[in-house]
Amino acid sequence: MNCLRLLLLRAALLAPALLPAQTATVSGTLSAGIGGALLKGDRPAFQELVQQRKTGAGGIEELRVTREAPDSLFRFDATLVPGDDRYRLALRQERTGRFYVDAGVERFRVWYDGSGGVFLPLGTSFVVFNEELSLTRRKVWAEVGAWTPDQTLFAFRWERRMRDGTKSSTHWGDSNLVGTFGTRSIVPSFYELDEATDDYSLTVRQDARDDVRWGARLRYTETSLHNRRHERRRPFETADRSVTQKDESSNDLFTATASYERRLSEQLTVTAGALRTTFDGILAGSRIYGQTLDPVYDPAYLRRQQRDEGYTGLHGTADLRQTVLTANAVYLPAPHWSVRTSLRFENTHQATLAEFVETNIGAGPAFAAILEDVEGEHRKTWDEFGGAVEVRHTGRPGWIHSAKAEWIRGEGNHEEQRLLHHTGQLTIDREMEYARSSQRCAFTSTWFPRPGVTLAIQGYYKANVNDYDARRDNTVSASDRYPAFITDQDFETYDLNVRLTWRPRPGLNLVTRYDHQQSRIRSQDAGLEPVNSARGRAHVLSQSATWSPAGRLYVTGNLNLTYDTLRTPTLQFAQYQDNNYVNASLACGYAAGKVDDLYLDWSWFRADNFIDRSATLIPFGVGQKTNQASLTWMRKQTAHLIYTFKYGYVGNRDETWAGLNDFDAHVLYARVQYRF
C-alpha cells in the first residue's frame, strides 16, 4: 500500500513535467549508486572522517527533472539512499512574474566518533557506550509566492527543522585508574539531542522599480529542546556514577524587519532598515547524579561522592526585546569614486529568571544529601551605536582600491542575583556597568596588469576594548567572582593576505596566497596588574596549480602549509596549543578512450603537534595523518548513459589516541547515470 502511495505521489509530482508545450524543454538526470567499505581499524573514526556508514549504502542519488518554458519553470529533485539515511524530495513550480510554489522534505545524517581520551603511560582508555554516534537533521518546507501586476512579491514560508540522535562531547569524565598519577579526565561522554524548530515567515517585497525598493518580513519561530548530556565519572571504580544533564527549554521568537531604499539622484542612494525582535523562553531542566544512564533523582544513590553537585526541577523564563535601526547611503561624488556610509543603533533588554532545587552531597562517611531552593535572576540593558565608511576607487585602469573604517560603541548595565530561598541570603548580588568599543580598519587593492594575472592585497586591523565596572558586588572574596572579576579586556588583531593569480602560459593557472594573522588579548582583573593573557600567530601559505597540457588531460594540485600557534603564559599547567598542519591534494582527469575517462584523486593531511607530557598533563595536541586516494573510471556508454566505478583508499593514523582511532579502509563504489 505504501509503495502504491509513493508511486501515485511521484506520478503527481512528475505530471507537470509531461504537460505538452511547444516551446518547453524537459531535461533531467537519474543516478543510482551503491558503495561500501572494507575496513580494518576503528569504525567510528572512519565514519566521522568519511561521513559514510561503514556497512555501505545504495539507492537513487539523484533524480532531477526540469521543465523550462518561456513563461514557466518546473523542477523536481529527489534523493533516496536508505543505507546512508539520505533522502530528499523537493519541487518547485513557477510561472514567471506571477506565482511560485516550492516544497520539499530532506534528511541527512552526520557521523561522530564518541571516543574519550587516552592516558599514554598506561594506555588507559574507556569505552562506556557505543561510540558509533550519529545525528539526523531533517527539514520540511513549503513556500508560496505571488507577484501583483506591479511586481510586488507576497510570499509565505513554513519550515520545520529537526535534529535528533547522538553526538560526541568533549566534556570528558574523570578516572583514577591511571596508577600513581592521580586523576585524569579521559572518560567519554555524549549528547542525546531532540530539537525541533518551526519557522513561519511572511515577506512582502518590491524590487522591480529602478528608483525605489522596499521590503518587509514578519517571522515567527517556535523552538523546543529535549537535550541530554550523559557523562560517566570514575567508571569501574567504587565511585562509579552517571550524570545526566537535561535541557527541556522552549521558546518563541518573533522578528519584524523592514527596509526601504530610494535612489535620490544618479549620485545618491539611501537605505533605511529596522528590526524588532521579541524572544519569550520557558526554561526547564535538571542535572542528576545516579547509578545508571538518565537517572531519577535519589538523595541516597549508591556510590555518591562529596560535591556531586546538580539541580532538579529547574523552571523559569527568559525574555529578550531588541530594536535595531540602520541607515546607509551610497554616494558617487565623481566618476570611478564611490563612498558608502552606514549607521547602526541597537537597544536590547534581557531578563532571565530560573528557580530550581540545588542538590549537593556532604562529606563522608554520611554523604548526606543537601537540598536548597535557589532562585537566579539576571537583567541586562544594552545600547550600541556604530558607523562605517567605505571609499572605493576604480579610476586607474586595471586597479581597484577600497578602504573601510568601522567603529562601534556600546554601553550597558548588567544585574545578577542568586537567592537562597530558605535563608533569604543573596549569595550573588551585583550590578555592573560596562562599555565596549570596537574599531576596524580595512583596505583592499586589486591589480589586473593583464588578462589572466591578478594581484590582490587585503588587510585589516581590529581592536575591541571592553571595560567592566562593578558598581555592586558581594562576591569579592567568594569563588563566584566572574564576570565582575574582569575589569578590562582588550583584543587586537592584525590580518594581511596577498593573492596572486597567474596564467603563465595557456593551459596553466597558478594561484598563490599568503595569509598572516597576529592577535593579542590583554586582560586585567580586580586588584591585579594587566597581563598579556594570549598571543596568537598564524601564517598560511597556499598554492594551487591547474595544468591542462592537452585536451585529454588535466592535473590540479593544491598545497596548504599552516603555522598556527596560540600562546598563554601557562606552559607549566597547560601545554602550548599549536594547530600547525600541512595538507595537499592532487586531482587528475584523463580521456583514456573514446568513451572512457579516468580520474585520479589523492589528498593527504598531516598535523604534528603532539607532545607527550602525560606524566603531568593530559596528552593533547594533534598528531594525525590521513591519506585518501581514489581511482575512478567513467564510461560514457551513450550520450545519455554514464557508468562510474570507483576504488578508494582511506587511511588514518592518530598518535594522540595511541592508535585507537587508526584505520585502513578500501572503498568501492559504482554508479549509473542516465541523462535526458
Binding site: E195, T501, V511, N558, N560, T562, T570, Q572, A592
Partner: protein, 257 residues
C-alpha cells in the same frame, strides 16, 4: 578479513605499469577533451551585462557586495564579473537560461576555493561542517553587502549566522558567558580545525586566553583560586564536573553546569 594498508609495493608496481601502458595506448588512439571541474563545455565569457537581462534583481545590488571589489570597468576584464564564479556564460545566455549550462557555487565550493585556497585547506581538515550539506553560501552572501553575514553595522548580530542551525546555544542565560558577546568565532573556527568541535584549542589554553590572571611559584590563580591541579588533571576547563556550561548557565555564575 585481513586488509593490507595502501600502497603496497606490488600495488604500486602493478598499478604504475598499467597506468603507463594505458597512457601510451590512449595517446595514440584518443583525441578527446576531458572536462576539468568546475567548467562548462564550449562556453566563453560574455560579460556581466548579458546577465542583467534576466537577473537584474541580483546584478543591481551586486555593486554593494564584497566581491564587487574584483570588478573593474572595461571589456577586457569581463571575466571578473558574474562569470568569475558562475563560469563563462555564452552557452547559458544563448539558451536563454538553464541550470546545466552554468555553474552554481552554492552546490559546489570548488568555485570559491579557486581564490580562497586557504579555505580549501581548512575544509580538508578532520573536523569541518559536514561537506555536501553545509556550503559557503549558507553563511556568506556573495551577491549583496558584506560577504560575512551579521555583525558590524549590519542588521543582524554576528552570531545569528551560527544560531540558525545551533538553536540550543541561543540563550539568553541567567549567567552569561561574555565570550559569546564577542562572537562564536572567539572559540570556534567555522571553516575547519584540527581539533574536535571546530575548537581553536583543544585544551585549557582556549579558556586561559581570557582567564589567565596570576601565576605564582605555587600555582595558577583564576578568579582568586588556585586552579593548577585541576588544569593538570582535567586538561580542559570544561571537563565533567568543572565548568561545563561553556555557552552560559541558568544555575551557576561560574558556569559549572
Amino acid at each position: 578479513m585481513k586488509i593490507r594498508p595502501f600502497p603496497s609495493r606490488s600495488a604500486l608496481v602493478f598499478g604504475g605499469t598499467a597506468a603507463w601502458g594505458l597512457l601510451l595506448v590512449s595517446c595514440v588512439l584518443v583525441n578527446r577533451t576531458v572536462l576539468m571541474p568546475p567548467s562548462i563545455p564550449g562556453a566563453t565569457f560574455v560579460g556581466s551585462k548579458d546577465c542583467t537581462q534576466c537577473h537584474a534583481d541580483i546584478t543591481r545590488a551586486f555593486d554593494s557586495a564584497t566581491h564587487a571589489k574584483l570588478m573593474t570597468p572595461g571589456d577586457s576584464r569581463k571575466e571578473m564579473g558574474c562569470e568569475a564564479c558562475h563560469g563563462p556564460g555564452s552557452v547559458h545566455s544563448k539558451a536563454g537560461g538553464g541550470i546545466d549550462n552554468i555553474l552554481n557555487p552554492a552546490r559546489n565550493p570548488d568555485t570559491c576555493y579557486q581564490c580562497h585556497t586557504d579555505k580549501r585547506g581548512e575544509f580538508a581538515l578532520p573536523h569541518t561542517h559536514p561537506a555536501g550539506h553545509v556550503t559557503c553560501t549558507d553563511c556568506h552572501d556573495p551577491h549583496r553587502g558584506d560577504a560575512i553575514l551579521g555583525g558590524g553595522t549590519r542588521m543582524a548580530a554576528a552570531n545569528e549566522t551560527c544560531l540558525k542551525c545551533h538553536e540550543a546555544q541561543r540563550g539568553p542565560y541567567v549567567f552569561e558567558h561574555e565570550a559569546l558577546r564577542d562572537n562564536c568565532t572567539a572559540c570556534h573556527n567555522p571553516h575547519g580545525s584540527v581539533n574536535a568541535k571546530l575548537l581553536k584549542a583543544r585544551n585549557a589554553t582556549l579558556c586561559l586566553q581570557c582567564h589567565f590572571q596570576q601565576q605564582t611559584a605555587t600555582g595558577l590563580f583564576i578568579g582568586g583560586r588556585d586552579h593548577s591541579s585541576y588544569l593538570v588533571q582535567r586538561g580542559t576547563c570544561w571537563s565533567a564536573g568543572c565548568h561545563e556550561a561553556v555557552h552560559g548557565s541558568h544555575v551557576s555564575s561560574s558556569l559549572r553546569f
